[in-house]
């Protein structure tokens, strides 16, 4: 049986950072359903935050100011101790990435360049043109190659094997050979990314199904704050490809059909650079109230960069220009970009502490699939790349500590019986009923976008919960076309779909119960924040009957007392 000291699921930034930190000392395996450089992290554009104080306009920036901005941005739902760790560590990890070869953009003095981003009081976002995820992920992949990390590329994890709150490894699926393979591990780290594809309109890669979160949840690991879903204000209409916040950081305007810079009505001080939740809602209101433009692909408003001028666009936002030309036939030097808000990021995820530990011994999570929580109810732009690398790194310490102190041996028998269970499940998908996986996914994602989107209210979420349970019923009848196990992406989609249903269910139930508005969670029927009753994290566990069981847990407050969030 395959076995590793450390098994890392996910070859994005969080997974690779952890692998690079552990492979000198331990036998590490990294398993990813796509080649690591095809991970979603590659698509990040805008930048990564760290209070380097390199900018002439930000010489007095400090990690503490970064922490305050993050906590305020989170609408006070972030655990403050975790935020402090992240912001302090930020400076170290950015320098470390630079030392490893990351080609950051530079200021004229040769230091790492920094740009302004929403919700931050200082220009604190380090970047490489608009390809920041691309350069960071390549740098970590290069590091992994240099260190000879063992990568199982195009392997998919089907299930996590836990028993009495101890993790023993995973059941994996080799997409090329079609074999179902149990892998024993003394420690397992999930770095499986976000769940964007649970929504119809999402900026995320097609592979971002959130299956990792669903797999952990089904194995009995608690998941946290799932109702907090970030909507990015500016995604291209139609394809929903992200148009980075750096466009606004560099000075872009949002304009409605009356040619008005409407952010003046909502947040006159920060304008386009208010945090994402606020800008997204402002845009949605403009559209809902009839001040958007009409297009066959949907209603939109304009993001205007023309006044920045061609040289600045070509230097700072070249990737954005190419995206606009290739995908909608618009050159932002000459025309405004048609955008709409879309699902973008999952603040919630596998419930971990600051050491990336979960409730299950030997099982860890980091990156977007985890909820530490450093983003609380709303993540600031540039903080998520940071989260992946910082907690990818910190996970190494906890895993090292565990391996040094723990002699418990993973149990082969448990893996074998789980493998059999998975084989049966796959057999059933191949010889099942009449439902096609894609139809179910369309219905699910549409429900989520319509009923658990930017604006929510009781009746809508009730509808979503009803739809989800009907869709879960239909899933029992799902069937895939081809009986081959290898290179069968329809089968893979069907397997992931089951986990997506669970993820969607926990989002909807969390949103239903949370009777307040905080950060990205906005209830029309409870439109203010309510600290007395709701300054707490939602925790979802799977119950015996398969339904989610919800409990709550306190937010960690250190130095920053909750106050009204004004920009």
């Amino acid at each position: 049986m395959l076995a590793h000291d450390v098994l890392i699921i996910g070859g994005g930034l969080a997974g690779l950072r952890a692998a690079v930190g552990l492979c000198d000392k331990y036998d590490v395996g990294v398993l990813s359903k796509v080649h690591p450089v095809r991970s979603h992290s590659i698509a990040a554009q805008g930048g990564i935050n760290a209070a380097l104080a390199n900018s002439p306009d930000g010489r007095d920036d400090t990690w503490k100011k970064h922490a305050f901005d993050t906590i305020k941005g989170s609408d006070y739902l972030a655990d403050q101790s975790a935020v402090e760790i992240m912001c302090r560590e930020a400076i170290k990890v950015v320098y470390e990435m630079e030392h490893w070869g990351c080609p950051f953009s530079r200021f004229p003095d040769g230091s790492i360049a920094q740009r302004p981003f929403g919700g931050a009081d200082y220009p604190r976002t380090c970047y490489s043109a608009d390809l920041t995820g691309h350069v960071l992920l390549n740098t970590l992949n290069e590091r992994a190659v240099a260190k000879g990390v063992r990568v199982y590329s195009e392997w998919f994890v089907l299930a996590l094997v836990t028993d009495n709150d101890v993790c023993h490894g995973v059941i994996a699926f080799d997409l090329k050979s079609g074999e179902i393979v149990p892998i024993l591990a003394k420690t397992t780290l999930f770095a499986t990314g976000g769940y964007g594809r649970v929504y119809l309109h999402s900026t995320n890669a097609l592979i971002n199904t959130g299956s990792g979160i669903g797999i952990a949840y089904k194995a009995g690991v608690p998941i946290k704050d799932m109702e907090f879903v970030q909507f990015h204000p500016t995604a291209l209409i139609g394809t929903n490809i992200l148009i980075t916040e750096a466009c606004r950081g560099e000075g872009g305007y949002l304009i409605n059909k009356d040619d008005e810079r409407f952010m003046a009505r909502y947040v006159p001080n920060a304008m386009e650079l208010a945090p994402r939740d606020i800008v997204s809602r402002s845009i949605q209101i403009e559209i809902d109230e009839g001040r958007g433009f009409e297009h066959p692909l949907g209603k939109y408003i304009n993001l205007d960069l023309r006044h920045l001028g061609a040289p600045k666009i070509l230097e700072k936002l070249p990737g954005i220009r190419n995206i606009c030309i290739d995908f909608i036939g618009v050159d932002p030097i000459l025309e405004p970009i048609p955008i709409m808000p879309c699902q973008h990021y999952s603040m919630g995820g596998i419930d971990t502490n600051e050491k990336c530990e979960t409730n299950v011994s030997g099982f860890y999570a980091a990156g977007e699939c985890a909820c530490v929580s450093v983003h609380g109810a709303n993540r600031l732009g540039g903080n998520s790349l940071l989260d992946t690398i910082v907690f990818g790194k910190l996970a190494c310490l906890a895993i090292d500590e565990h391996l040094r102190n723990n002699s418990a041996k993973p149990d082969e028998k448990l893996l074998i019986s789980k493998k059999e269970e998975m084989e049966k499940k796959i057999y059933k998908l191949m010889y099942g009923g009449n439902e096609k996986p894609y139809r179910i996914l369309v219905d699910l994602s549409k429900t989520m976008s319509d009923c658990v989107g930017i604006f929510r209210e009781k009746a809508g979420i009730e509808q979503a919960l009803m739809d989800i349970s009907k869709i879960k019923e239909r899933f029992r009848d799902v069937h895939v076309n081809s009986p081959k196990l290898y290179m069968n992406y329809e089968l893979l989609n069907a397997i992931e779909l089951e986990y997506m249903l669970e993820v969607a269910h926990t989002i909807a139930i969390g949103a239903y119960l949370r009777e307040e508005s905080r950060g990205a969670h906005f209830r029309k029927d409870f439109n203010t924040r309510n600290d007395t009753d709701w300054l707490k994290h939602t925790v979802a566990r799977i119950g015996k009957d398969g339904e989610p069981v919800i409990s709550y847990k306190d937010v960690v407050i250190t130095n920053y007392q909750p106050m009204e969030r004004k920009y």
């Binding site: 040769g110 290069e142 090329k176 890669a205 076309n481 290179m487």
Partner: protein
Amino acid sequence: MITANEYTFKIFRYDMKEPEVRPHFRSYRIKVISGLTVLMTLLRIRDEIDGSLSFRSSCRSAVCGSCAMVINGKIDLACRSQVASFGDNTIVLEPLPNLEIIKDLVVDMTPFWDMYEKVKPYLIRKSPEPEKEIHQGEDERKRIDQNVNCILCASCYGACPVLSRTPDYIGPAAFAKLERFVLDSRDERPLHFLEGINNEKGVWGCDTMLRCIDACPKDVRPIDSIVGLRKTLLKYKAKKIFGITKDED
């Protein structure tokens, strides 16, 4: 008004595990609204018509490098190619050349990654790290811009005429990657590290047909790297002859 036109997609089918079934094309007729990409249409074909069709995709936005294939005779990323842009109602899709086919449009990328790893595609330093960043001028940074853009999609690898006859030629992408580090002001690799490419399997194997430049969706121009590396090697050789360099370690 959204208009949908009917298209015929002729898609290459082959299964490595069933070699007795010869490679063939299968046609799918599908209505496509203008603006839709080849990748989005492929996904619909797989979902709605034929679940057994295999192809790779991830980002759907031309940044991850998964979906390179031959589209109507030209190598490109399926996700950035608009169906309507071909001026023809038949679209022919084939897998990338120069790599073995696993199934349908999925090729075995192993040789491509092997060559990538072989050139030591990472920053190599000997000096101790400074406490903060290693300074790099804007112009030094700009020098590597073009190479940094590479998304490792293997389009150039598929287009390379040398690789079609010399499978162990290192190939354009790996050279672009290597030069990305050789030109990086922070890199301190000893020049003798380049010996491995100083031969016909290396930089001297290229026929400069420029096919890699045509195929690259990111304007990387691997040939510039090959020419650049050749120059570096010649300079190195000259220095060695005149005993100027003391090539430590």
